[in-house]
């Protein structure tokens, strides 16, 4: 399927070997999925081997296949990220299946489809095939967002769904990918984006660079359109991720401060304009004041987390369905009840390592385009995971975003996997490959 086009003469032999680290770790992920399957089967119907084992195992298989493709195609990206991505998916899937067995097969389909797209993005990104496509993608996304505002449908308070027949998807999710690519395209032109440099770009220099200016303007358009759909959570994730990406590229601290001020002001204005956001704030400050009304979801989240305790009640033995939106927004608390603090800390650790390792890889990336691509992708995963886990834990006001790679949702799963695909593809270290490509 894949061929190595650019055989650099000084390539180390180890890189062309069969990705041993990745293989071992993928083995661990598959073992995890089996254990989850056995536990789910035991808790659900008392039998050690049930259908659940097959389902859970099937959630890990695409990552094994992705590994085989990477190995066969001499993919030169990082070897630790793919198993971490697999671990997040494998940790999330049993809870989704256990809450909604009827959605188990769909979610499995999303995981398989998403993994295929992840491999595609990884390979294309590592060969710089995506470079220059960012603005096109962003224009397309903006067009879809505008279309959504006109003909979109409302689900869960946000008018962010576009339907093609029965198939629905959220353009705001897809826009995340475009924002990363466009940001990497636009900001890699700046001299301050050079990995080694410590210099900072003043605002005039940033604005003077046409590509960077275009990226900033189009990011703004995406954020505004997403807010207009009342999908404030996603808008926040994109906004913070993009500002962090621009900071890395430019080092302009004033820009960060101004952006933070604009963000805070926007949140306050949004609290006034959208009543449901104001309510979220009030119930964040004191969920127990109205535990049967506006604070209901948070109260149920706390009850679930507390009922899980340190070791959890075991898959199938808790009552996580008592939390509203358990399979999507509240997946962290829902799984926290059954896998306990031990499992919840494990889940946090997986995201911690995934994003942390992503940033480390960005520091070693072969070009500023890759470095920015990796940073942008890691930012999205980091901000979204923090916003929703923090929301589930009452650290932040609850926003309606999914736990990336774990929650139920087609667009969310595929987009998240595509984003980690960009991250994977951006971890290629050799400069020699930069200029390469298909001959």
């Amino acid at each position: 399927m894949m061929e190595e086009h650019s055989q650099a003469p000084n390539a180390s032999v180890a890189l062309h070997h069969a990705r041993d680290t990745e293989r071992s770790l993928i083995g661990v992920v598959m073992l995890m999925s089996l254990m989850a399957g056995f536990s789910l089967s035991l808790g659900g119907n008392g039998k050690l081997v049930g259908l659940e084992v097959a389902y859970c195992f099937a959630s890990s298989v695409p990552f094994a296949l992705a590994h085989l493709l990477f190995a066969a195609g001499h993919f030169e990206g990082d070897e630790v990220l793919l198993p971490l991505v697999g671990a997040a998916v494998v940790m999330g899937y049993p809870t989704v299946y256990r809450l909604r067995p009827d959605l188990g097969l769909r979610q499995l389909g999303f995981i398989w489809l998403g993994t295929a797209i992840m491999v595609l993005f990884a390979v294309c990104q590592s060969r710089r095939k995506l470079e220059g496509l960012g603005f096109l993608a962003l224009v397309g996304s903006i067009a879809l967002l505008v279309l959504t505002l006109i003909v979109g449908e409302e689900r869960g308070g946000a008018r962010s769904w576009l339907f093609l027949g029965d198939m629905g998807f959220q353009p705001s999710e897809v826009a995340k990918i475009a924002c990363i690519l466009a940001g990497a395209d636009g900001f890699s032109r700046l001299s301050t984006a050079d990995p080694a440099t410590k210099t900072r770009a003043p605002a005039r220099e940033i604005w003077g660079c046409a590509e960077a200016r275009r990226a900033i303007l189009m990011w703004g358009a995406v954020v505004l359109l997403t807010v207009a759909q009342r999908d404030v959570g996603t808008a926040m994730v994109i906004y913070i991720s993009c500002v962090a990406m621009a900071y890395v590229a430019t080092g302009n601290r004033v820009m960060v401060l101004v952006s933070a001020g604009i963000g805070a002001g926007a949140v306050i204005v949004a609290g006034q304009v959208f009543p449901h956001i104001g309510v979220r704030f009030v119930s964040w400050l004191n969920p127990w004041a109205d535990a049967t009304g506006s604070g209901y979801q948070m109260a149920q989240s706390f009850y679930a987390l507390a009922s899980g305790g340190i070791f959890g009640r075991g898959y199938g033995c808790g009552s996580p369905w008592l939390i509203p939106a358990a399979v999507t927004d509240m997946l962290f608390s829902a799984s926290g009840e059954e896998i306990g603090l031990a499992g919840a800390l494990g889940l946090i650790a997986i995201y911690f390592l995934m994003v942390g390792h992503g940033y480390s890889c960005a520091r070693r990336a072969g070009s500023s385009y890759w470095a920015l691509g990796a940073v942008g992708a890691a930012n999205i995963v980091a901000v979204q995971a923090f916003v929703i886990i923090g929301g589930n834990l009452g650290v932040l006001p609850l926003t309606g975003v999914t736990l990336p790679l774990a929650s139920y949702g087609g667009t969310s799963m595929v987009t998240s996997l595509a984003i980690v695909g960009i991250l994977l593809g951006s971890t290629r270290r050799r400069l020699a490959a930069c200029g390469g490509g298909p001959s």
Partner: protein, 468 residues
């Protein structure tokens, strides 16, 4: 640029640290409280699936148990006079009394079953709540019950050496069978059968308070055991003249005064103590509630800084006036007298254990207060023994038993006086204290003392407690 990526990495580490702290806080540190909160919808589900734990007496007799999972399977088997204390656990009415106070254990919300989700599913058996073993002795409880049958009142028996409550009887009682159906008529009854009179009924203590007044007078040094009082049959306190219904007692010492319940002598002691009397009665918890496994009301003694009238002191010294206490206050006062002045912390629950017998929690005897000095306690006890031998409490005497007691005839605005008997029985190291009150039943010596004697005889015969 690499340096700035490092900044993001640092921010991410800080963010994850916040998440870890928050998760640990909610899942480990505050988890117990929220997990077992009755507001947690899991608890209602658990109640449906768990066989609620049994309540046993101290010898393992079943007072209350469940024949299957769920609250509707609750069956009350114990003595009826214990029902107001044990309370009910009903899917319609909710829970009361001990059923409410020990709900976390009985329901299995807390205990060794907490984390056996997977295992119990495997074994495919319903979970069981914990068993609560009371300090109550069903035989003594039944003795109290037959003493109270057909009357309104309360009897409470306590092991003075340990604070274990051996019987807590309240009359009238209600039938646990069909409680939900009869609820409206039970609630509308004038004689309040739902109230556990022994722990929550409020009565003027009458002359039973004299044991406390005598002890306080001795401890404060305003009298000595050998002082002789001249009883002329009345005493003046402020503007009120307080009479001795039996007439002049003549020359009496403190023991005699207790024995014959001489109002004159105690009004004199009250006047000597002055405002100190209010202050010192707090040692007997008359101004607050005695801590117990179930909520109990405080006594209504009000400590005034100054300006206590002589009238009020005179009334207080003979247990009249506006002071109201529970029968448990009176029983604990008698218990302190017979336990060398030390009031033990009363308790109702001996232990909590898992359904398979694994102990979960055991109550240990603890002193609550040193209410009286040991020497004063001996003098008061002597006076009370004399009262049973040849004083007002003669009808409590039982041949071959060492019994002391103090009667009371408490005037009240609801009709005839309440009849009181507070006493103790000693057998070797066994020290049992009892208090019995019969509402509007007349004189304590004739109405309450014989019943008190009967109860003490059964309690001493049962060899329950430390004498065993």
């Amino acid at each position: 640029m690499n340096q700035r990526i490092l900044r993001l990495l640092q921010a991410w580490i800080a963010g994850c640290a916040i998440l870890v702290v928050a998760a640990t806080y909610y899942q480990a540190i505050t988890a117990d409280e929220l997990a077992t909160s009755p507001e947690n919808p899991r608890m209602a589900n658990l109640e449906r699936d768990v066989v609620r734990g049994s309540i046993l007496d101290r010898n393992g007799n079943v007072i209350c148990d469940s024949v299957g999972p769920g609250l509707s399977m609750r069956v009350y088997r114990g003595p009826d006079s214990l029902a107001p204390l044990v309370g009910y656990a009903s899917p319609i009415l909710g829970k009361s009394g001990l059923e409410a106070a020990y709900d976390v254990w009985l329901s299995g919300r807390r205990g060794p079953y907490d984390m056996t989700g997977v295992l119990s599913t495997l074994i495919d058996q319903p979970d069981y709540g914990c068993t609560v073993r009371l300090t109550i002795d069903v035989d003594i409880q039944k003795a109290c019950e037959s003493a109270l049958r057909g009357r309104r009142g309360a009897a409470i028996v306590v092991d003075a050496a340990t604070g274990e409550l051996l019987a807590v009887a309240s009359s009238p009682w209600y039938s646990m069978k069909g409680l939900e159906l009869a609820w409206d008529s039970i609630v509308s009854r004038d004689d309040s059968p739902l109230v556990c009179r022994a722990t929550c009924g409020m009565y003027p203590p009458g002359s039973t308070i004299k044991m406390a007044v005598a002890a306080i007078a001795l401890d404060c040094g305003v009298t000595s055991p050998d002082e002789i009082y001249e009883c002329e049959g009345f005493a003046r306190a402020g503007g009120t003249v307080i009479h001795d219904p039996a007439g002049a007692h003549g020359r009496v010492d403190l023991r005699d005064a207790l024995s014959v319940s001489c109002n004159t002598a105690f009004v004199e002691l009250g006047i000597r103590l002055g405002p100190k009397l209010h202050d010192q009665l707090r040692r007997f918890f008359f101004d607050r509630s005695i801590p117990l496994d179930v909520p109990t009301p405080p006594g209504n003694l009000k400590v005034r800084d100054a300006g206590v009238s002589g009238d009020a002191i005179g009334q207080l010294a003979i247990g009249q006036g506006d002071l109201l206490v529970t029968p448990m206050h009176v029983a604990m006062m008698a218990a302190a007298v017979v336990n060398k002045g030390v009031m033990m912390r009363p308790h109702l629950v001996a232990s909590v254990s898992a359904a398979d017998g694994t102990p979960v929690m055991t109550t240990r005897a603890k002193a609550l207060a040193a209410a009286i000095t040991p020497s004063s306690a001996d003098v008061v006890a002597d006076g009370m023994i004399q009262a049973v031998k040849r004083g007002t409490a003669r009808s409590a005497a039982r041949w071959g038993y060492d019994i002391g007691g103090k009667t009371g005839t408490a005037q009240n605005p609801h009709g005839s006086p309440h009849a009181w008997f507070a006493g103790f029985g000693v057998d070797g190291s066994q020290r049992i204290a009892v208090a019995i009150v019969l509402e509007n039943a007349g004189a304590g010596g004739s109405a309450a003392a014989p019943l008190g004697g009967d109860i003490l005889k059964v309690a001493l015969d049962s060899k329950t407690g430390t004498g065993r």
